[in-house]
Amino acid sequence: MSAALNGLTILAVCAGAFFFLAGTVGLLRFPDTLSRLHALTKADNLGLGLVVLGLLFQAEGLLAALKLISVWLLALLAGATVTQLIAHTARPSGPQA
């Protein structure tokens, strides 16, 4: 049982790390602010979600699991709205190189 849980954790964390990698590649390669913001928010939040999922299998107790999920939900909420705010800041300055 715990071997199966460990396997699931490894799978989920590897997927999460892959998305972080994808997000960072996007961050480094995309040409302008808005697309970099897009890469950062989407990929990194998904990566965090997968990492949280992986760690859920290792969590001890209901409270720890709830805290893990709330961390992810809060990060998602903050990411979604703050991205809009940052994009609004970027746009009046005109397209950045």
Partner: protein
């Protein structure tokens, strides 16, 4: 450990960038990033209490303070950037900083094995305080006088900031009125985040008696949520002359001081707790102190009054 070396290099790199940044706003962003990474370092060193304080107070709240300062300075900055300090002064500062860093590093590296520490005695005597977290025991029992002085110092800093108000808005409302957009993004995030944040802040404060946490960390989260609500325009900053506000600010240190003075009568010296009631007294101190600190920190970031009091 490759991980530790990588983390150390990253922290140093961000720190160096912050020092070298040309623009104040950029330097503040770098400072906050540096602080958040430092929280990671503290967790790596198995010091979660310090990590909590660093994340909340050292980088989060101080970052808010610095951003607000850098915004006010922006207009004057373009003029100031032309007057650079003479090279000899900057060289002297660099040499001094290097010497201090080298001195601290030498002290840490040359400590005898095992390093002298009071930690075992702190753990042994913790049962008398009724607490389960040795860091809280140090802050609220062994070195309670330091904590009391910290709360007073914060209050004095706030008075200093209020004294910067121009005469015509003396005792007025800090910060320009932030427009609340009813369907706006900022309103949305504030309405969802603030209640959750308040819960988390209370949780971190409450759990501090048995696990990493405590009143300063919890109070900082509460303060950050209040500032967030102010920035989103959900609540307006209170006028600094309001009686309830001033009462709230003063109650924490006042209660702390009172309990400290009764220590003379009840247990023999200042801030001594009679053993069976130690935990209750500590709790009686912590609750008002948390509220006072939260209010003080929020008002520190809000800044000096800018609008006249009253409608």
């Amino acid at each position: 450990m490759a991980f530790d070396i990588g983390l150390a290099l990253l922290v140093l790199g961000v720190g160096a960038w912050t020092v070298a940044a040309r623009d104040t706003f950029a330097a503040v962003v770098g400072f906050v990033a540096y602080g958040l990474l430092l929280a990671l370092v503290w967790v790596r060193l198995a010091a979660p209490d310090v990590a909590l304080t660093e994340a909340a107070l050292g980088s989060g709240l101080t970052g808010g303070l610095l951003v607000s300062a850098s915004t006010r300075l922006r207009r004057a900055e373009t003029r100031a950037v032309d007057e650079r300090q003479p090279a000899s002064l900057r060289l002297a500062a660099a040499v001094l900083c290097t010497l201090v860093s080298a001195g601290v590093a030498a002290i840490v590296l040359l400590l005898p094995e095992p390093a002298p520490t009071l930690a075992p005695q702190a753990m042994v005597n913790m049962a008398a305080t009724g607490l389960g977290n040795p860091v809280t025991a140090v802050l609220m029992a062994y070195r309670a006088i330091d904590t009391l002085l910290e709360t007073v110092v914060l209050l004095l800093a706030l008075v200093g900031i209020w004294s910067l108000a121009p005469d015509r808005v003396w005792g007025g409302v800090p910060d320009p009125r932030h427009q609340a957009e009813p369907d706006g993004r900022l309103t949305f995030i504030a309405q969802l985040l603030v209640p959750v944040g308040i819960l988390v802040g209370i949780h971190i404060f409450w759990v501090g008696s048995v696990a990493p946490g405590g009143e300063f960390q919890g109070a900082t989260i509460l303060a950050a949520m209040w500032i967030l609500a102010m920035m989103a325009g959900l609540v307006d900053a209170p006028a600094v002359s309001r009686r309830w506000l001033r009462l709230m600010l003063v109650t924490g240190p006042a209660v702390f001081l009172t309990i400290g003075l009764t220590g003379f009568a009840v247990a023999g010296s200042f801030l001594a707790y009679p053993e069976p009631h130690a935990k209750l007294l500590i709790l009686m101190i912590e609750i008002p102190v948390t509220l006072s600190i939260a209010a003080t920190l929020a008002l520190l970031v809000a800044g000096p009054p800018e609008r006249a009091p009253g409608r």
